[in-house]
C-alpha cells in the first residue's frame, strides 16, 4: 500500500496498464494544465502514447473510438463532463453502438474520462456530471469512483473492458489522499461497496456526495439513527442486489446524488427498488438531488449544493 491522491491513483493504474499493453494510447487536450492532471505520471513515462490534441473534441473522440474499433485500447480525455456533449454523436450514435453492430466480431474498448461535479463556483458549463444522460444510453458503462483505491481499481477494470466506459472523476476528490494498493489492482465494475454499516436507514450515493452522506451519518448518530452508506461506484452496471440487501435490513432508502432532479439515475434506483422490494419498505423512498436549475456561482452555489443537512432532513422525514 502507498499513500497517494485519487488523481495519482488513476495515473498509477494507467501507467501499470500501459507497461503491460503497448496498444493503450491517450487522446485529449491539455493533459498538463487540464482537469486535475489525472494522467500525469503515465504521461511522463509514456509521452509517445499521449496525443495532445487540438480543441477538436469531435475529432478527438472519433480518434479514440475509431482506433479502439480497429484494435487499440484508448483513453479519451474530455476534460469536463460538460464538454462531453460537444462530441455526443461520437459517443451516443457511434461508440455505444459498436459492439451491437459488430455482433461479436469486434469491440470498442475506450475509456472516456472527464472531471465532473459542482462546488467550486465554475459555473453552469463546468459543474455538471450528466451520469444520468450516459446511463440512459444502451452500450455505455458509467463509472464514478469516490476513494483513491477504488479510483485505481476501477480505472484498471475500465481499461480492460471491451466496450466504451464513461469514467467521471469528481473535482472535489482529485487531491484527496488514501492508502492505495501497489502494483496491479482491480475493482470489478458493477459492484457497490458498503462504506458505513448501519441498521436504520440506507443512504445510496456515488462520487463526492458519498462523503456528504458519511458526514450526515455521523450527525444522525446524535438523533439515535444509525445509517448505512453505500457507495455505488458504478452507475452502469449498477449493483441492485447490494442495495436490496441493505434495504431489507433497514427498511428505509434515501438516494443522494448531484444530478438535477428530473430524470436522474437516483429516480431509476428509487423506481426499481419500489418495483422489486416494496414490501420491505417502511416508508417512501426519498431522493436528495440538485434542483432542476443550472449550477450557479458564488454564494448562490452554496444554496444549490447537496449538504449533510439536506440529507439529514430527508432521513428524519422517515422516522
Amino acid at each position: 500500500m502507498s499513500k497517494m491522491s485519487y488523481a495519482e491513483a488513476i495515473s498509477d493504474s494507467v501507467a501499470i496498464e500501459m507497461r503491460q499493453d503497448p496498444n493503450i494510447a491517450y487522446v485529449g487536450e491539455d493533459p498538463v494544465g487540464g482537469a486535475q492532471q489525472v494522467f500525469m505520471g503515465a504521461w511522463c513515462e509514456f509521452p509517445e502514447r499521449f496525443i495532445v490534441a487540438p480543441i477538436t473534441e469531435t475529432a478527438n473522440a472519433g480518434c479514440a473510438i475509431g482506433a479502439s474499433m480497429c484494435g487499440m485500447r484508448m483513453i479519451l480525455d474530455m476534460m469536463y463532463a460538460d464538454f462531453i456533449p460537444v462530441a455526443m454523436d461520437e459517443i451516443y450514435n457511434q461508440a455505444a453502438n459498436v459492439c451491437y453492430t459488430y455482433n461479436g466480431k469486434g469491440n470498442c474498448p475506450v475509456v472516456i474520462r472527464a472531471m465532473c461535479g459542482n462546488g467550486t463556483s465554475e459555473g453552469l458549463q463546468h459543474s455538471h456530471s450528466l451520469e444520468n444522460l450516459f446511463a440512459h444510453i444502451p452500450g455505455l458503462k458509467v463509472v464514478m469512483p469516490t476513494f483513491p483505491d477504488d479510483a485505481k481499481g476501477l480505472m484498471t477494470s475500465s481499461l480492460r473492458d471491451n466496450g466504451p466506459v464513461i469514467f467521471l472523476t469528481h473535482r472535489k476528490l482529485g487531491y484527496n489522499e488514501g492508502e492505495v494498493p501497489d502494483n496491479e489492482y482491480l475493482v470489478p465494475l458493477g459492484k457497490a461497496k458498503v462504506v458505513r454499516e448501519g441498521k436504520d436507514v440506507t443512504l445510496v450515493s456515488w462520487s463526492y456526495p458519498v462523503m456528504t452522506c458519511l458526514q450526515a451519518a455521523e450527525n444522525l448518530v446524535k438523533q439515535g439513527i444509525n445509517a448505512e452508506v453505500i457507495d455505488l461506484r458504478t452507475i452502469v452496471p449498477w449493483d441492485k442486489e447490494c442495495i436490496k440487501e441493505s434495504v431489507r435490513k433497514t427498511g428505509r432508502l434515501v438516494v443522494v446524488s448531484e444530478e438535477n432532479h428530473t430524470g436522474s439515475f437516483a429516480g431509476e434506483i428509487a423506481a426499481t427498488l419500489a418495483e422489486e422490494i416494496f414490501n420491505a419498505l417502511k416508508g417512501p423512498i426519498k431522493r436528495v438531488t440538485s434542483i432542476d436549475a443550472p449550477v450557479p456561482i458564488g454564494k448562490l452555489e452554496d444554496l444549490y449544493l447537496i449538504t449533510p443537512e439536506k440529507i439529514e432532513k430527508a432521513v428524519m422525514s422517515l422516522f
Binding site: 494510447a25 469531435t58 475509431g66 482506433a67 474499433m69 454523436d89 459488430y102
Partner: protein, 320 residues
C-alpha cells in the same frame, strides 16, 4: 494510360456488380422483401470501384449511409450483404442493423454510418491506428457533398493534418444533399479547395471515370503510406436514383438525369474498353451473366436465411 487489361476488366466487373446488386435491392424492396430505409448507390459505381480497387488488404474504410457500393467493391460476401439488408440472421451483422450500418472488418469495412458526416471522426481513429501500428496502411473516409458541410469534416482534417495521419477523405459530390441541390447550400464550386486550409493536397476528379478515380486515389495512398499525411479527393458524380428508394427524384431539375445518363460510368467505360480492343462485347456479356447470377443467388440466400430470434435483441449490447 498504364492500366493493363486485367485491371480494367476488374474495375468493370466491380462496377457492374454494384449496379446489378442495387437493381436487385430495388426490386426486392419494392416487393416488400427488404424493410426500412434504403439508399441506392446507382450512378456512383465508378467512385466505389475506383477507390476500393486501389487499396491494399488491411487498409481501413469508413463508409456513409449510401455504402452498399463500397461494401461490394471491397469484396464483402454478396450473400451476407443481401441477408443483412433483408434483416436476416446470416447477414454481415446478424440482420440487426440494415443497409446504413453494414460492417465487415475482414474486408476492411470498419464502419458505415446513418449520421451524415459521421464516418469522418472515426476515420481519424482508423488512420491513427495505422500510423500507431506503423504498418503502411491507410484509412479512407467516404462522405457526400452534404456530409462535407458538417463540422466533423473540418475537425477530422484539422486533426489528421496536424499529426500527418494516413487518411484520404473521398468526397462523393453527387451534387445533391437529400433533395437540396449543391449550389443552394455551398458557396464554392470545388470542395477539394478546402485542402488548402489544412496544408494538404486536394484533387478534383471526374467521379464517373473509374480509371481516373483509381489513379488519384493510388497517388493519395502512396502519399499517405510514405508518411506525408492526408489528402482530400472530390469525385464529381451523380446519384441516378433518389436519396432513398421511394424518393421520385426530389430536388433534381428536369432533364438532369438524362444528361448524366450520357456519362454513365459503366457504359462510358465499356465503350472505352471495346474501342481499345481490351474486350469484346461477348466477353462483357459473359461477365454480366456471371454477376447477375451472383446477385440472384444472393437474393435467394437472403430469402432462405432465418430471421434473428429474440435473444438477438440484447446480444452484444454491452461488450463481452
Amino acid at each position: 494510360m498504364t492500366m493493363n487489361k486485367e485491371k480494367r476488366v476488374t474495375l468493370y466487373r466491380s462496377m457492374l456488380m454494384i449496379r446489378r446488386f442495387e437493381e436487385k435491392v430495388r426490386e426486392c424492396f419494392l416487393a416488400g422483401e427488404i424493410p426500412g430505409f434504403i439508399h441506392p448507390y446507382l450512378g456512383e459505381e465508378a467512385v466505389a470501384a475506383g477507390v476500393c480497387s486501389s487499396l491494399e488488404k488491411e487498409d481501413k474504410v469508413l463508409s456513409h449511409h449510401r455504402g452498399t457500393g463500397h461494401a461490394i467493391a471491397l469484396g464483402v460476401d454478396p450473400d451476407k450483404l443481401m441477408a443483412e439488408l433483408f434483416g436476416k440472421r446470416d447477414g454481415t451483422n446478424g440482420g440487426r442493423v440494415g443497409q446504413m450500418h453494414v460492417t465487415d472488418k475482414e474486408h476492411g469495412l470498419v464502419a458505415s454510418n446513418g449520421i451524415v458526416g459521421g464516418a469522418l471522426p472515426l476515420s481519424v481513429g482508423a488512420a491513427f491506428f495505422c500510423k500507431y501500428q506503423n504498418n503502411g496502411k491507410v484509412a479512407i473516409a467516404f462522405c457526400g457533398d452534404g456530409g462535407a458541410a458538417r463540422g466533423t469534416s473540418h475537425e477530422a482534417m484539422q486533426f489528421a493534418s496536424v499529426f500527418k495521419l494516413p487518411l484520404i477523405l473521398v468526397i462523393e459530390n453527387n451534387l445533391i444533399a437529400g433533395a437540396t441541390p449543391f449550389g443552394a447550400i455551398n458557396n464554392v464550386k470545388d470542395l477539394a479547395d478546402r485542402a488548402g486550409g489544412y496544408g494538404i493536397p486536394g484533387v478534383v476528379v471526374d467521379g464517373n471515370d473509374v480509371e481516373a478515380v483509381y489513379e488519384v486515389v493510388g497517388e493519395a495512398a502512396k502519399h499517405a503510406r510514405n508518411g506525408e499525411g492526408p489528402s482530400i479527393i472530390e469525385c464529381k458524380t451523380w446519384r441516378m436514383d433518389g436519396h432513398f428508394i421511394g424518393d421520385p427524384g426530389w430536388g433534381k431539375e428536369e432533364g438532369e438525369n438524362e444528361e448524366w445518363k450520357k456519362r454513365d460510368p459503366i457504359s462510358s467505360f465499356t465503350a472505352r474498353l471495346i474501342a481499345a480492343g481490351d474486350v469484346t462485347q461477348e466477353e462483357l456479356d459473359t461477365i454480366d451473366a456471371e454477376v447477375t447470377k451472383i446477385v440472384e443467388d444472393a437474393a435467394d440466400f437472403a430469402r432462405q436465411s432465418p430471421y434473428p430470434t429474440e435473444e438477438a435483441l440484447t446480444a452484444h449490447v454491452y461488450a463481452g
